[in-house]
Amino acid sequence: MDAMIENLRQMLASRLPQSQVKVDEPEHAGGNYWVDVSLGKKRHTVEYRPGKGFGLFHEDAGYGEGPAEIYRTPERVTQRLAQLMSTRNRDARRMGLKDVRELYGYSQVTLAQKAGVKQPAISRFEKRGEVKLSTLEATIKALGGKLEVRAHFKDADVPISLLASKK
């Protein structure tokens, strides 16, 4: 079994000891693993693609549809699974700033300090979804990520620049 899958199993056993974990192994070396993690009535599926990472599916994923979230390490996907399993009415189809912040272990105060914004701005965004793009960009950067905005059309898929257009 792939070392990354073995790591994931161990982390799940440690972080979610009550969970049931079922693994579908690939027929051929280098193929994909499928990991079903269930706890009570909740079940989440992870597809592991060697060299690419762990794809986490949302509950409403259809037949043959790809994962909605992708994680590069077993640690991070385990943390996300623990987050999804632990919260009662969490809507797994949406990942808000609060989820991302908690995934990386920041409080609102420490994140605001690192991003150079005020803590109420983070709080407002998490509670009401109101945010300036520049604040969101700084916040994601402070978490170690990069914000991208894309527009999808029927015949196009384009990135939207976050820099103001110069006249």
Partner: protein
């Protein structure tokens, strides 16, 4: 635009209505061409199988999604919530993870997937 559930239903109906396949490769090709045709017509999402992350389109199984099968005469392909079984005789069986059968199409010799190893 039809929902994912309606597009899946359309795929299953077309697959059921298609002439039976005579080999596993033929059956695999039938699944691929049928689902791609349905999604080209109904999903409104361009075909981009290189994107792993969802784009809202339903994609047929690829070879790297083939998992170990308990039945020697069946190839088994996994997706998030389904198993696709393909028999060496061209039969196709699609089940949910909870074993609800969505399609059980015989191969050209008239035998269904689960009849092959009996």
């Amino acid at each position: 635009m039809p929902t994912k559930a309606k597009r899946l239903q359309e795929f299953l109906e077309r697959l059921e209505a298609a002439p039976p396949a005579g080999s596993a490769d033929e059956a695999f090709g039938l699944i691929v061409s049928t689902l791609n045709a349905v999604e080209d017509e109904l999903s409104g999402v361009p075909f981009r199988p290189e994107n792993w992350r969802t784009d809202g389109r339903l994609y047929p199984p690829q070879e790297d999604a083939r998992v170990k099968s308990e039945r020697p005469s069946l190839r088994k392909y996994r997706s998030k919530g389904h198993y696709n079984f393909i028999g060496l005789n061209g039969s196709i069986r699609i089940e949910t993870l909870d074993a609800a059968v969505l399609l059980d199409k015989p191969g050209q010799d008239g035998r269904r997937a689960y009849e092959l190893d009996e």
